[in-house]
């Protein structure tokens, strides 16, 4: 089941030497091997190639290794704290927070950035983790709630970053690069600044190793041995944040190293905590060096424009996660998914009352959205007799947004029920990612497509992603975690493309970002009605599949024993979820996260059984996006924000409030 432990050192040596050699190759025709090696400490001022090697290449290689090691270690510690291989500094919101800090500093305090780029990034990262900790403290700081809160914070801060990029894009040219991660260096300064800090943080992390080991025993046993579980987690998390933000502050977001390195180490046979920490660190350094070399090579092909390292780390991270899909066998390696969120069982409420309230709110939103609107000079109230005129501009988009919310709410509930993992959602399953990937490729190729082309491309992408997932997951009888990991890998690929676009030019990126966060304003009347017919059809079908959904989370054995063809049921439900997601993605983009938030809101509102949760989630999703669409139209009128972005903001705030309020009760 696992590779032999002796493969680890061999793999590490091959990775490091291969990457180093590959990195040095372009210099071979200008400098002799000794000169290349000595570029790390000296240079010949009369030979320009030598100057370049010493001041540009050598620091870049060094910083790649340093940062890779730091992120690998931070990733391994995060996974240990939270006991979930999907957890990484990225999913805790640390990088989104760092970017938020840099964005705010660039816009409002450019002097601070010139003084020290670290402060802004670290401040942002601490803000993110501070929010996560504050929200989950009362809930005993359990891993699942931490991961959930981390994800929501990631989306929330990510959405804020995007809002700034869309509204102030011209002012944030540096952010497009920072967000994509580039290890280009032109002196030794950053490396010299970084290495002592990374070393100190690494030592502190290792000091926490013994207490961290206790966490493996589970909360109860660890507490009985006298470990202050919450405190250890907080301390370790703080170190993770400091490590991640310190390294990314200088080079930007190099995503997925912190996720891929520990996964790779585990795959190659690192089992004890000590060996996992060691080999994740080593693998992280090797991986990033390899990725950066690829990025450097790719930059010299084609038209010579920069290929950010964030792109290649994502391109490498994707396959590693896919490998993990084959290698990580069973659910017991993912403790996160088994324990349902501690204290996340709010008291049940009458479904009629809850549905009534949401429907009333939805109707109110529709009336306000149709009637009360800003004009070029002032706000005015459109009387109901003139709604047919206003309908052209306000109606189709509102209808489409509401329906997309319903679709995502349903798809999200389906997926969370099916996988039994609270992190499961159409976004996490990669179906929206597949749709987005195709769009990214279209933008990259410079083609101008019409609305119909967009629809076709998105559907094609979603279908392809789904096909790939089915292919990958077939072996595992469509079991939940393999699907999630596969989806994550797809999302990683999409992310790679997105970062490439972002780094290549602000203006193109703005267009893409707009689509990614939902361009409801492009919806025509016929599209909206088409979507409506489609959703009604699917809802009818869903009434028929409530039973399999109730049975699937009981586990394969029990479900089969109760007469359910497990694999077939999973495939069918997966298809339904995919189709729902694809139709919604075209309208609202892949990043609204309504599919993640709506089912949780339904539970917070006390709807526990499958049928009730589905209805409540659909209504909540519809309400969220209806409100988001209205707000997107009015808040910066005559400008408009993408509705999906506002949904992520509005939904995120409510979700966090629900989480913390419940903790108090």
């Amino acid at each position: 089941m696992y590779a032999d432990t002796s493969t680890l050192p061999i793999a590490a040596v091959i990775l490091w030497l291969g990457a180093l050699f590959a990195s040095a190759t372009p210099w071979l025709n200008q400098l002799d091997p000794i000169a290349i090696l000595s570029a790390f400490w000296t240079f010949n001022p009369d030979q320009y190639a030598s100057v370049l090697a010493h001041h540009s290449w050598a620091p870049r290689v060094s910083i790649a290794m340093l940062i890779g090691c730091g992120l690998g270690l931070a990733g391994a510690v995060t996974q240990q704290i939270l006991g979930n291989p999907l957890a990484s500094p990225t999913t805790l919101g640390v990088e989104a927070g760092g970017q938020f800090g840099i964005t705010v500093a660039t816009l409002f305090a450019p002097g601070l950035l010139a003084f020290s780029p670290d402060l802004a990034a670290i401040g942002g990262g601490l803000l993110a983790i501070g929010l996560v900790i504050a929200l989950t403290w009362r809930l005993g700081f359990s891993p699942v709630t931490v991961i959930l809160a981390g994800l929501v914070i990631t989306f929330f801060l990510g959405a804020m970053n995007m809002a700034f990029l869309l509204l102030k894009g011209e002012w944030l040219g540096n952010l497009y690069i920072w967000g994509a991660g580039s290890l280009v260096q032109n002196n030794w300064g950053p490396f010299m600044d970084l290495w002592p800090r990374v070393l100190v943080l690494a030592i502190l992390m290792l000091l926490l190793m013994r207490p961290l080991q206790l966490l493996q025993l589970g909360q109860a046993s660890a507490s009985s041995l006298g470990a202050r579980v919450g405190l250890i987690r907080v301390l370790a998390l703080l170190l993770v944040v400091l490590m991640s933000t310190t390294v990314v502050s200088r080079v930007g977001v190099v995503a997925f190293v912190g996720l891929a390195a520990p996964v790779l180490a585990r795959l190659l046979g690192a089992r004890t905590l000590g060996s996992r920490l060691l080999w994740s660190t080593v693998m992280g350094g090797g991986l990033l060096l390899l990725a950066d070399t690829l990025a450097h090579w790719a930059s010299t092909w084609g038209d010579g424009s920069l290929v950010p390292t964030g792109t290649t780390t994502a391109l490498i991270g994707g396959p590693v996660i896919l490998l993990a899909l084959q290698g990580i066998r069973n659910t017991h390696h993912m403790p996160g998914q088994e324990s349902s969120p501690a204290g996340f069982q709010p008291k049940r409420r009458s479904p009629v009352m809850i549905s009534g309230v949401i429907v009333t709110l939805l109707l109110a939103t529709i009336v306000i959205s149709m009637g009360w609107s800003p004009g070029l000079d002032d706000w005015n109230w459109t009387p109901i007799t003139q709604w047919h005129e206003a309908w052209v501009w306000r109606g189709p988009r509102l209808l489409a947004a509401t329906l997309a919310g319903v679709a995502l709410g349903l798809a999200g509930t389906l997926i969370q029920r099916m996988t039994g993992n609270p992190m499961g959602s159409p976004e996490m399953l990669g179906i929206s990612g597949g749709a987005a990937l195709v769009m990214v490729m279209i933008v990259l190729s410079g083609l101008e497509v019409g609305r119909l082309g967009q629809l076709g491309a998105a559907t094609l992408g979603a279908a392809a992603a789904l096909g790939l997932l089915i292919l990958l997951a077939r072996k595992h009888r469509f079991a939940g975690n393999q699907l999630l990991l596969g989806g994550l890998a797809l999302y990683v690929f999409m992310d790679a493309g997105l970062r490439l676009v972002m780094a290549s030019g602000g203006t193109v990126a703005a267009q893409l970002l707009n689509w990614m966060y939902g361009s409801t304003w492009l919806t025509s009347e016929s599209e909206a009605f088409g979507l409506m017919a489609f959703i009604v059809l699917i809802c009818g079908f869903l009434c028929l599949v409530v039973r399999p959904l109730t049975l699937l989370p009981l586990g394969d054995t029990s479900a089969s024993a109760l007469g359910l063809p497990v694999a077939k049921a999973r495939l069918l439900l997966l298809l339904v979820a995919a189709v729902l997601t694809a139709s919604a993605t075209v309208v609202i983009g892949p990043l609204s996260f309504v599919g993640l938030i709506a089912p949780h809101l339904a539970r917070v509102l006390g709807q526990q059984t499958v049928g009730r949760q589905m209805i409540a989630a659909a209504l909540v999703g519809g309400l969220l996006l209806a409100a988001a669409d209205y707000l997107s139209r009015i808040v910066v009128y005559p400008g408009q924000l993408p509705a999906g972005l506002l949904a992520a903001l509005v939904g995120g705030v409510y979700f966090l409030w629900g989480l913390s309020r419940h903790g108090r009760a």
Binding site: A114, S299, V392, S504, L522, P638
Partner: protein, 310 residues
């Protein structure tokens, strides 16, 4: 004989009375169909800055423009008068605001292709894209100027603007040639941070200014369709012979960071003190930035370079 001429005169008179209308009415082919106008449009809306600039050059003040405030910061010239409505972002304009202004012509680019039908519902839409795969921005901008000139009955003005730009390029080239400053290639860059620059490629708008001034672009590779490539600073190192022209704005602290980097101080153009800096010019505009750039570039080259950015 004269009795026969009565209907003839009538027809002549009728034709003559139609003449002013014919001069401006017409049908134009554009990137996404055809456009028919019965009379010169009075209420024009532009959905990108290149179109806004072209309209203002022609002396037509649009009733609404996309991203009005950004125009005044980034494009600056020709100046946008007060009282023009903002109709939203360039990537996502507000259709409702556009409709409220009741335009009789909308000028946009193929970037708005997904919204083409919705825009057509509001008013005749003229689609022209200076910036797309395979296009030569200056030629397209020129076409936009001449076509809008014809639509708005200002053809002479359009021709005069083009002649003025050619004239400026000629004058400035002679100044450079007289000083013997045309032989070294020029790299046009924007600093994004202290490690990365945007470098302007031969397929961009700026190339027209370099051509007109008799200068060679140091960067010979094709950029993205906006006409630039984002590169690491080390990418300009191989062009040891060239001069580096830095286009403002730059982030605060940049000159200190560069001065502390041996990589920068060893860079041949830096050693030769051939770093020049010019004021911000909008690189994705219509024809006008060429004139602005040509003047500034010539002045700055004549003034002499330094070993760092300001």
């Amino acid at each position: 004989m004269f009795t026969n001429s009565q209907p003839f005169r009538l027809i002549t008179a009728l034709l003559l009375s139609l003449l002013p209308m014919l001069a401006s009415a017409g049908t134009w082919q554009h990137e996404q169909g055809t456009l028919t106008l019965d009379e010169p449009p009075k209420r024009v809306i532009s959905l990108n800055w290149a179109a806004t600039e072209t309209l203002l050059l022609l002396g037509v003040t649009p009733v609404g423009v996309a991203d009005r405030d950004g125009y005044s910061v980034w494009v600056k010239e020709p100046e946008l008068p007060n009282g023009v409505y903002d109709i939203g972002a360039r990537v996502a304009p507000s259709l409702e605001a556009i409709a409220e202004l009741k335009p009789d012509l909308i000028v946009t680019s193929s970037e708005m292709a997904p919204a083409a039908q919705l825009l057509e519902q509001i008013a005749p839409t003229y689609v022209i894209s200076a910036y797309q795969e395979g296009s030569q921005p200056f030629d397209k901008a020129r076409e936009m100027l001449l076509t809008l000139g014809a639509m708005l009955d200002r053809e002479e003005r359009a021709q005069a603007i083009l002649a003025d730009i050619e004239q400026t390029l000629d004058t400035q080239r002679q100044r450079l040639e007289k000083a013997g400053l045309t032989d070294r290639p020029v790299a046009l860059v924007n600093f994004l941070d202290d490690r990365h620059v945007r470098i302007y490629a031969p397929n961009g708008l700026y190339q027209r200014a370099l051509d007109g001034l008799g200068l060679t672009n140091a960067w010979s590779r094709k950029g993205n369709f906006w006409g630039f490539s984002v590169v690491g600073l080390e990418a300009i190192a191989p062009y040891e012979d060239s001069r580096v022209v830095v286009i403002s704005p730059t982030l605060p602290g940049l000159s200190d960071n560069l001065a502390n980097s041996p990589f920068w101080t060893y860079l041949p153009p830096v050693k030769r003190e051939q770093i020049y800096q010019i004021d911000a010019t909008w690189p994705f505009g219509g024809v006008f930035p060429i004139k602005r750039l040509a003047k500034q570039l010539t002045d700055s080259l004549l003034e002499g370079g330094s070993d760092n950015v300001r």
